[in-house]
């Protein structure tokens, strides 16, 4: 089993005000002067306080049970559900990953909310979510790049709680990477602490394809974040 850990800087993520406005619901090209200024201000703060960490571990010891659509990683059986199973069953190996934007962002968000600056608190929250998503994307780029040297490709990344994969299966995932570098802990209700964290799997193999986004696989049709590509 091989693995890699990463520490990124906020500027590596290429997040701009425009991205944040989209994440707050504003359609392309629509903006609000007041909001713009606050986003710029909060983004500067986040740049200083975020702690962007990621880790993947590659497991070669995997087997597939087509009849029940189950994947066994070492001795752990993952019930990813049929959508994800279909996307990764051609993998020779699986990368399990976790990422986080750190705890400080959510603390700032809470403090701002408590001190009755709800708007600023909300913007911290949105930027924190964008930061951890972008961290996952960067880590995935690194994995893709690394695999290319062995002529291998990767799939999209899939997380427990999406596409019919029970969020409680995160317990299995964390069981396989118990002492994770990101120091994320999992509560009994499968909530990651810090909140601005993401977990999941990525398939590795010669016949896989990384699509522009995973939204096409997801059944939350009117999700605010749904991408059309």
């Amino acid at each position: 089993m091989t693995g890699k850990t990463f520490q990124f800087e906020f500027r590596d993520l290429n997040i701009n005000v425009d991205n944040i406005e989209r994440a707050m619901g504003y359609p392309e090209g629509e903006s609000h002067e007041a909001i713009y200024d606050i986003v710029v201000k909060v983004m500067k703060q986040v740049e200083a306080i975020c702690d962007l960490k990621a880790e993947y571990r590659i497991f070669n010891d995997i087997s597939y049970d087509d009849a029940n659509r189950r994947i066994t990683v070492q001795r752990t059986v993952l019930n990813t559900g049929k959508i994800i199973y279909r996307q990764i069953k051609k993998s020779d190996a699986l990368a399990l990953f976790v990422c986080t934007a750190g705890r400080e962002i959510e603390e700032r968000s809470r403090t701002a909310m408590r001190e009755s600056d709800v708007l600023e608190g909300y913007i911290y929250d949105i930027i924190g979510s964008a930061a951890v998503e972008a961290t996952a994307e960067l880590m995935q780029d690194e994995l893709e790049h690394f695999m290319k040297s062995s002529d291998l490709k990767i799939s999209n990344r899939f997380s427990p709680g999406y596409c019919g994969w029970d969020v409680a299966e995160q317990h299995k995932l964390f069981g396989l990477i118990p002492d994770n570098y990101c120091a994320i802990s999992l509560t009994s209700s499968a909530l990651m602490d810090p909140v601005k964290s993401v977990s999941g799997i990525i398939g590795i193999g010669p016949d896989l394809k990384r699509q522009a986004s995973t939204c096409r696989f997801c059944d939350m049709k009117d999700c605010l974040y749904r991408r059309q590509d």
Binding site: H32, A34, V118, L119, Y122, G161, A168, S189, D193
Partner: protein
Amino acid sequence: MSELLTQLSYCVEFGKIDKASPYPPNLKGQEGADEIARRALDEGIKPDEILDKALIPAMAIVGDKFTKKIIYVPQMLMAAKAMSSAMKHLKPYFQSGETKRKGKFIIGTVSGDLHDIGKNLVAMMIEGAGWEIIDLGVDVNTDKFLKAINDNPGAVVGLSALLTTTMEHMKKTVEAIKGNYSGVTTLVGGAPVTMDYCLKIGADFYSPDPQGAVNYLNQFALK
């Protein structure tokens, strides 16, 4: 309606908090919700009137614009902030009982869940509709909900959850509420929650957004 109340309503709708706040640009340097509410009281306008004729209607427009996607969460929050800067002048009248709110709304994110943004948005819009909010925070267990209900007879209860796992705790809490206080109305919400789920666990109402909750609650208003 008095010119002051019209101005106050405008300030809340467009998030003009006080004189110092630079937005909206057409009101730059002018008084905001904070100063106008003070002035309205000083000029003898009844607190009830300020609430019912300026603040609540302004927030209703804001909620409606949000539902129709004319504005987005940030502008809704600016409006809510302007509303609370006006509300602070009304606090003494609430405390003395001279002005009454529509009722009490207890809200919390259920046990095991730490998400609070969605819950906070709902709380603010319901407050904006004239309700007193009792915010129990996040990771609220059943006992805490029950105690709050016991301490605040007649209150309506809102529960929020963001994961399917924590949604299970919502079920336990709603069952306990209904078991102990059968008359209490419960509202549920959060990303994974649906109307089907709401009915299945015996809650009274589900809304995907704050305005739906406000519209539903209005039928229970005390006044």
